[in-house]
């Protein structure tokens, strides 16, 4: 069978893939294909019918589908090719630096494709009950919050009438409000950690405004009901996150929604053999958002889980630009040895994206995104280049639920021509 060749193939037509495609086009690339596995472009935004998207990008409050449509329009205006219902089954490194893709779709059948560069924008999935080892029966009525969101907002189905939510991730919070508006009674939202993983505004607008209690340091210790959920027992947890005996509370309910974390969907990335981060579950990338496999880039939630789609779009646009430049400069051929300075970090930072920088590749500026592992107050983020403090950013409060960012300018990096060490530290701000 023959392979169809493109310069750039983007895997995933959600917010990350759309933004990457548009940016690559605007950088001059014309041979682009976007592969989307769902029946429409836009990804998970299609089921996010609440508003609050786009405040940074468009200075407007849009719903998820509206936000997606802005980018879909840009794609259509540029006549960028895309295929729907197209599932990528495998991604491999081929000859002469080409990347080989096997995909299937109802319309196009089996497709063998090759590309000089690939951008991975597959997004993420929700952690399931199994990954949490929640004991008890396995009845119907246990849903991840995103599945419930799809059932309600896309299918028009009501998953249950009396609801307990475990986890205070943003989707769980949004679904607390949605289920309430659809006539269900949301009894409680339990969160294992002593702080919420969701955005402050969502706690206020989705729980507080509807009188739904948020119980921090609590978890589900038992699911009852053999056919359909009949009850859930939650208990307080100690500092070791283990349930404290005697604190159990029983809730009569027919539904348990889980909003207990998102996992980047990197099956293709792992299959390709790219280096992975055990912290983010995403690939390790450099300043160009390029993985350890030359010419394969990653952006959005497949790289690390974001809080806001605006940041996904911004990051993915950067990947699109870098992929277009890679095709222009190298044409898919192997690159010469590049300078790669790892970003070292400390003071409670869990990871940074990117993980390394080639200062010569930074045009104008580079955004570094990171998260901390605990709630901290009165801090400053300090950047050291070769041991010298060059940038300080004060932060009154930092929390694991809010992604942080720093900007390194080309000018700053150029001022250190023999740079060999980059460190980012969170320090007490006396």
């Amino acid at each position: 069978m023959e392979r169809t060749e493109y310069n750039l193939i983007i895997i995933g037509g959600g917010p990350a893939g759309l933004s990457a495609a548009v940016a690559a086009y605007d950088e001059g690339e014309r041979s682009i294909l976007v592969l989307e596995r769902d029946t429409r472009l836009g990804g998970i935004l299609n089921q996010c019918i609440h508003n609050g998207f786009g405040l940074h990008t468009f200075q407007e409050e849009l719903t998820g589908p509206e936000y997606a449509q802005r980018y879909i329009d840009k794609l259509e205006e540029r006549n960028i090719e895309y295929k729907l219902d197209a599932m990528v089954m495998s991604l491999e490194s081929g000859k002469d630096g080409m990347k080989e893709i096997m995909a299937v779709s109802e319309k196009d059948g089996l497709m063998l494709l090759s590309a000089r560069a690939v951008i991975l924008t597959m997004g993420c999935r929700e952690r399931s009950r199994g990954a949490l080892n929640i004991p008890g029966f396995r009845p119907a009525g246990v849903f991840s919050a995103g599945t419930a969101q799809r059932l309600v907002n896309i299918e028009g189905y009501l998953p249950g009438r009396r609801v307990v939510i475990l986890g205070s991730g943003d989707i769980g919070l949004i679904m607390a409000r949605r289920m309430t508006l659809e006539g269900a009674k949301v009894l409680v939202c339990a969160e294992l950690m002593p702080y919420s993983g969701g955005l402050k505004r969502n706690i206020v607008q989705c729980l507080d405004d509807f009188g739904i209690p948020l119980k921090l340091s609590h978890t589900v210790v038992r699911i009852e009901g053999k056919e359909r959920v009949e009850g859930v027992v939650i208990a307080e947890v100690g500092p070791d996150r283990k349930p404290i005996p005697g604190t159990e509370e029983h809730y009569d309910c027919d539904t348990l929604l889980l909003s207990v974390g998102l996992l980047p969907e990197n099956e293709l990335t792992i299959g390709l053999g790219a280096d992975m981060s055990r912290v983010t579950n995403g690939p390790v990338v450099n300043e160009s958002l390029e993985t350890s496999v030359p010419g394969v880039f990653a952006a959005g939630n497949v790289l690390h889980v974001h809080d806001l789609v605006d940041y996904v779009s911004e990051e993915s646009a950067h990947a699109g630009v870098c992929a277009a430049r890679y095709i222009r400069d190298y044409g898919g051929e192997a690159k010469e040895e590049v300078k790669r300075i790892p970003i070292e970090f400390g003071g409670g930072i869990r990871y940074t994206v990117p993980c390394s920088i080639d200062p010569g590749k930074v045009e104008k500026y580079l955004k570094i995104r990171f998260r901390v592992g605990d709630v901290m107050s009165s801090r400053k983020v300090v950047v050291y280049l070769d041991g010298k403090s060059v940038l300080t950013k004060k932060r009154r409060v930092m929390a694991p639920g809010e992604m942080e960012e720093l900007v390194l300018t080309e000018k700053l990096l150029k001022a250190h021509p023999d740079l060999s060490r980059i460190e980012i530290k969170v320090e007490e701000d006396a």
């Binding site: 069978m1 596995r37 219902d85 599932m87 089954m89 096997m102 299937v104 779709s105 109802e106 319309k107 196009d108 059948g109 089996l110 063998l112 999935r125 929700e126 399931s128 009950r129 199994g130 990954a131 080892n133 004991p135 008890g136 029966f137 396995r138 009845p139 119907a140 009525g141 849903f143 991840s144 995103g146 599945t147 799809r150 059932l151 309600v152 896309i154 299918e155 028009g156 189905y157 009501l158 998953p159 249950g160 009438r161 659809e182 006539g183 210790v221 038992r222 699911i223 053999k226 056919e227 359909r228 349930p243 027919d254 099956e267 792992i270």
Partner: protein, 483 residues
């Protein structure tokens, strides 16, 4: 009037049905659940035991060995997944080595071939992932792994195609001896759907087999549900272990095993807890802790952070710890297959063949001239060469629409699972047949679509689609339906 009514559509009942269908007669299987393989058969280690463990001279030993020998051919004839991967029993200290020798001796008496005690060096070459603790092992090259759903569905479909009726959602409430028009003994089987008469009854009711048995016999038996928790790891752990790795048995059965599955996952389990509730298959955090601790004795770096689901199964344990097989002395025409706990999955085809033979003799059944002993399983597009897959999708585009992204299952395969003889009616029925929803997201992405497909195919309201039959409806209604 039936010739035989088989109670229970687990692996044993379906195996009896399949071998019985080689004879002429009117046969049916009655199952209280909505599908085959919903009790003990669906939640176990999925192991084909070599047969060294069961006490020499027991029925367990006899049928374990016979079943083990039957699986390789049956897997080909009936097209289900089976792999002869071999097993290892680890000695965790020098003191355990005599226990290995005792197992080997017992196994050889049972007729198990190829048993060998291997030292640590050989053990590490056979199973490189093994941790620092184990000192030696008993290697059994004839052990294997099987898809228990695939095997049960295969037996059932083949029986059905050869004329055996299946009645689901049909719980047997009573059994009474009676006489037919000619004065011959028969049984009246009472169910919520009415009564039927049959010349013979087979009790393959799993954890309920004592209730069925005690309806007809004065020699009471007591089946204790012995619960076992399991952890199932992501397919990305595939290859971590090659063999089924046991630890030297303790007083609660075979201890914790770590094994590959035929689909490339890793399974860890089971615990052993005797309970009263015959439906009490809830997992416990104590069980999970126990598994993790015991598995840690065999492996130093078992990837337990890759658990994708956990579940519990109930073994049908009888106090004497042996199978109860054959016609019951004070109930002529009533045949037990009771106390079928481990190695029941292994023994099932041998038990099926034996009981079918006994029934044929007792009822004087002739051979079925139309019997077809082979069955083609569901097509697996992923196993096809590229050119053939391309052709398949061209001819039937539904195979190009991937519904379950984790296990890469197409709409075509899901339709197959539903449209087969004895097709899937629930989400779990689809999952057990084609693995849609069996992967790492545990049906988060694919369940809404599969619910719609089930509703369309069975022509019912989507609100009536269940996870696993009964009142396990997935949704309670529609949004704005109270407006």
């Amino acid at each position: 009037m039936y010739d035989v009514v088989i109670i229970g559509a687990g692996i044993t009942g379906c195996a009896v049905a399949r071998f019985l269908s080689a004879y002429s007669g009117k046969f049916c299987v009655m199952e209280k659940s909505e599908d085959v393989c919903t009790g003990t058969s669906k939640a176990n280690s999925a192991i084909i035991h070599a047969g060294f463990d069961a006490a020499h001279g027991s029925l367990m030993a006899k049928y374990n060995l016979l079943g083990n020998l039957m699986y390789p051919d049956l897997a080909k004839e009936l097209d289900f997944a089976y792999i002869n991967n071999g097993s290892l029993v680890l000695a965790l200290s020098e003191e355990d080595i005599p226990k290995l020798e005792a197992l080997k001796e017992n196994g050889e008496k049972n007729g198990v071939e190829g048993l060998e005690i291997v030292d640590r060096v050989r053990l590490k070459s056979l199973e490189p992932s093994v941790g620092h603790v184990p000192v030696a092992a008993l290697y059994a090259p004839t052990a294997g792994i099987v898809c228990p759903f695939g095997a049960t569905v295969a037996f059932a479909e083949n029986a059905y195609t050869n004329g055996v009726e299946f009645h689901f959602d049909t719980e047997v409430k009573g059994l009474t001896p009676a006489k037919d028009e000619e004065g011959n003994s028969c049984w009246v089987v009472q169910t919520a759907q009415g009564s039927v008469r049959t010349r013979a009854v087979v009790n393959a009711a799993g954890v309920y087999s004592d209730i069925i048995h005690n309806m007809v016999s004065e020699n009471k038996i007591h089946i204790i549900p012995r619960k076992g928790d399991y952890l199932l790891l992501d397919r990305k752990t595939g290859g971590y272990v090659k063999h089924t790795v046991f630890q030297v048995p303790g007083k609660y059965g075979k201890g914790v095993l770590v094994s590959p599955t035929v689909h490339g996952n890793t399974i860890v389990g089971p615990t052993a807890e005797d309970i009263d509730d015959k439906e009490g298959n809830d997992t416990t955090s104590e069980g999970f802790d126990d598994l993790m601790e015991k598995a840690g004795l065999a492996f130093d770096d078992l990837p337990l952070r890759d658990v994708i689901t956990s579940f519990a199964g109930l073994r049908a344990h009888e106090a004497k710890h042996d199978f109860i097989l054959g016609e019951v002395s004070d109930a002529p025409g009533f045949f037990d297959c009771a106390g079928i706990e481990s190695p029941g999955l292994t023994a099932a085809p041998a038990i099926g063949k034996e009981i079918a033979g006994e029934l044929a003799k007792a009822l004087n059944l002739a051979e079925n001239p139309d019997f077809v002993g082979t069955r083609k399983g569901l097509p697996d597009p992923k196993s096809l060469p590229l050119e053939e897959l391309a052709k398949l999708i061209q001819e039937k585009p539904e195979y190009g629409r991937i519904v379950c992204r984790c296990e890469q299952v197409s709409e075509g395969e899901i339709l197959d699972a539903i449209r087969r003889p004895l097709g899937a009616r629930s989400l779990d029925g689809v999952k057990r047949r084609v693995r849609a929803g069996m992967g790492r997201c545990q049906s988060g992405f694919c369940s809404p679509r599969i619910m719609d497909i089930l509703a369309e195919e069975w022509d019912v309201d989507v609100a009536d689609i269940t996870k696993s039959g009964g009142h396990s409806e997935l949704i309670v209604g529609f949004v704005k339906d109270r407006v």
